[in-house]
Subunit: 504 residues, 2 copies
């Protein structure tokens, strides 16, 4: 099965644009590394990663990158070419359009370079850059520093590789579902429901005006609490006539669509207002949630395993230059680890089996192993990294530690839930078969002490032609971390949102 | 150029699922309408659009739909087949798994049907449905009524067609950009910046607690206004340490990525807290925004025109059954109108020319035509529907009615902005070349009386290797309306959000 990227259009916009430029990837990422371009006149454009002048100022070396590939094209500019004098005033960060001839490179590590040595050749400076103020340089920058300049971060080799892989993964996910006959559905972002029956949510409101620092308390509409003089905020005056929130999951809404269109998925932003400062949590992140009618938990596990393998294979096929950079600079052995994910069947272990497997190793853990516990990452990591040494699917969890909507198993103690755990990363997928029996669903809502009222429409699905169905959530940033080896979630999203950080 | 959907996987999940079902589209949407399946034993699953019993109760006719196609497969169930007695208790809305043999249909309008007449054949009822309570029936339901039952709405033929086209359009857009070498970028949803320098935004906050009706005013953290005793809300105590909002556009953030990765796009939700009750506005909608480095306004117009034509052709190629349904039931002549969009060059008219063209028809308008005005939809519609009779691109607008980030033209009166207007629909795309001169940008911010402080990072792009670049915004729901002929934006999104409406 070929997972090659979609065929490029016959003529891309960049080629017929005012610049008429060829992407640098078209040259350097072609199968022969650009050899077939030798002798051809081409125009490229981009930003200088380095500019070097020969002492006598008769020769310029500009390493140009346009973001299409981690590789930069070396431009060798001779004094005879147009724009040479402007070029002398440039440095790292400047932007150029460059027209010259592709020639074989005498240097190591690059098969070709771009030579400017005639009056036909042209170096055009688009924008200068004061190197003394420019925060980026050739040297390696700590990732914490790069986060502070998120607007320039994609100019670093590290982050541009992450962004290209992020793009590939998003497309691989869409391709996988489309080729499988799933429909892409946009579930709502603003919601009055709460999927998990709890959770720390952001409130969305027009009760607090937009002007920043001077919102007077007295402008908030209030009403009196029944039987008291205490002022309470009047939610009926809010935009939606009631309190509304940012979604924590599209699942419940998605189930309504699955119960008529059969196979659907959503891929959108989700939010948690957790005051969490770990390297694994963001306040805003993207999630993929498929939902399949006419399926059980095994189908759900199959779907999850197949999807993960598809995305890994896709990136191995289409982003090998980026993976090589990350393998060298971020996680040694990354590519090998990815190949292991693709080439092995994931272990499938029931929760009860997992507890039995862990018990003999109890002394390894800070929290002792008992049936009924919510496994911590120390336990999960032991299963994946020490015992199985490959991804594991744990299924049939105790009902008390799982959500109300999960299907109760015949033992009446466990529910048909599953998590997919990956070595070094932990949980990337959590899913379940959904309770499709209206009596059992209503009982579960009652037993969890939830208010049944907001779920009338969700329950309707079990009254009008209920079907067995299942689905899961895949955290997109978690997936990117798994595939890039990047250890901090703030380094796999363009503009990370976390407590006290909402810049740019 | 073929715009056929991606090739299905060799074996899709639905086929190897516990149901082992074939999608109904695989049969009825195949080139011969299912003739090649005649004699084959197949399993399908879905919901009954109708159930008819023969008076003598020896024969059942179930019209089954699984959401994969607007067409339903007629199942003819004879008394000899397994599950027949359960089938007698069913009605519209029930869900089934059905195994039988595909046979030539004697009825008009369907080449094949599914026959159950042996003990091998099986009708399995997944879920019953009380027809007396079920809100949907065979009859045509008003679209206002369907909105009230958004959780069941995809079961209507109308809305399922809209959802399939919505899916196709989303995928067509990704395919177009990917084949053009653009990277998909997720710009932030929660933001402290305001793209348009104004706009009615939703506030995102944790200052108002999550519990609904009883939030006491006294729980909101306050501080005192300088030099006064007035209490103001203490934004520093909010989750992000300052006021934050839902994005109205990803453009500014996207420009930062374009100024290093060259060609990028975003496709995500955007929000307006406008108290607007029209058929064209939602509080939450999806937007596509490409941004191209090394491009000018002409490139931007080319990109917009090509993208629109690509999406229309894609739907004509892949959703013809749905379009035929809509052509018959929603907008007569829809398919013809779509073909006109693909086969004509869009008219390109400068704003100044447009004003000159409209002036002779001044008596047709409620607002008189003058240079400098912000054209209303009456003027735009006159250009597209009466004068040109095809899509029009209007460009070079007066600077005073446009945003600060648009590139000032040499005349110093107009900016390099463009709108794409479509007959019957109005504006679907608005874009511009961006100001890449730091002096002119800072002047524009000053002249619009904006606070320059929050834009330091945006301005940085003009200091460090500035490049000519351009981009636009395409309202996704507006595009769906254009392509389906549906007149109310609330009917092209699964769960519409507008004032006082945030249900499900």
């Amino acid at each position: 099965m070929s997972l090659k990227q979609l065929k490029p259009l016959k003529k891309t916009v960049s080629e017929y644009s005012v610049t008429g430029r060829l992407r640098i990837s078209s040259i350097l990422d072609s199968e022969d590394g650009g050899i077939s371009y030798i002798g051809k006149k081409v125009t490229i454009a981009g930003w200088a990663r380095t500019v070097r002048k020969q002492c006598s100022d008769t020769l310029l070396f500009i390493s140009l990158n346009d973001g299409s590939t981690p590789k930069s094209l070396q431009c060798v500019v001779e004094k005879t070419s147009k724009g040479f004098d402007d070029g002398l005033k440039t440095s790292v960060g400047c932007s150029f359009r460059v027209t010259g001839t592709i020639v074989k490179s005498p240097a190591d590590g690059q098969p070709v370079e771009l030579l400017l040595n005639t009056n036909d050749d042209e170096l055009k400076v688009y924008g200068y850059c004061d190197a003394s103020k420019y925060p980026l340089s050739k040297k390696h920058h700590p990732r914490e520093f790069l986060r502070e300049i998120a607007h320039l971060r994609p100019r670093s080799q590290f982050f541009s590789s992450v962004l290209r892989i992020r793009n590939s993964l998003a497309i691989a996910i869409h391709e996988y579902f489309q080729r499988n006959g799933f429909l892409y559905i946009h579930t709502p972002i603003i919601t009055a429901a709460d999927c998990e029956g709890a959770g720390e949510m952001f409130r969305v409101t027009t009760l607090l005006p937009v002007d920043d620092d001077t919102t007077k308390l007295s402008t908030i509409p209030t009403t009196k609490l029944e039987g008291s003089n205490e002022l309470i905020i009047d939610c009926k005056k809010d935009f939606f006539g009631k309190a509304s929130f940012l979604t924590v999951s599209g699942q419940l809404a998605l189930e309504t669509v699955a119960c008529s269109m059969s196979d659907v998925y959503t891929f959108g932003p989700t939010f948690r207002a957790e005051n969490s400062h770990t390297s694994r949590h963001l306040a805003e992140f993207w999630m993929i949630e498929p939902e399949m009618a006419f399926s059980d938990l095994t189908d759900c596990m199959n779907l999850g395993e197949e999807l993960l393998k598809y995305t890994v294979e896709y990136v191995l096929e289409n982003n090998i230059s980026d993976l090589e950079y990350l393998d060298k600079n971020i996680e040694k052995g990354l590519i090998e680890r990815l190949k292991v994910i693709c080439s092995n069947q994931f272990a499938r272990i029931s929760y009860t089996e997992a507890i039995e497997m862990l018990k003999p190793h109890d002394k390894e853990f800070t929290v002792p192993v008992t049936w009924g516990m919510d496994m911590g990452s120390e336990h999960e990591r032991y299963l994946t990294d020490v015992i199985e040494k490959k991804p594991c699917i744990i299924y049939n969890y105790p009902k008390d530690i799982k959500s109300f909507y999960m299907k109760l198993n015949d033992d009446e103690k466990t529910v048909a839930a599953m998590d997919i755990l990956v070595p070094k990363i932990g949980e990337v997928i959590g899913g379940s078969q959904r309770e499709d029996d209206i009596i059992k669903l209503e009982n579960a809502i009652k037993n969890k002490n939830m208010n049944p009222e907001p779920y009338w429409w969700y329950n309707d699905l079990r009254k009008y032609g209920s079907v067995p169905h299942s689905g899961f959530g895949l955290g997109f940033e978690r997936l990117i971390m798994m595939i890039t080896g990047v250890e901090n979630v703030r380094d796999v999203i363009p503009f990370p949102r976390y407590p006290n950080h909402c810049d740019f």
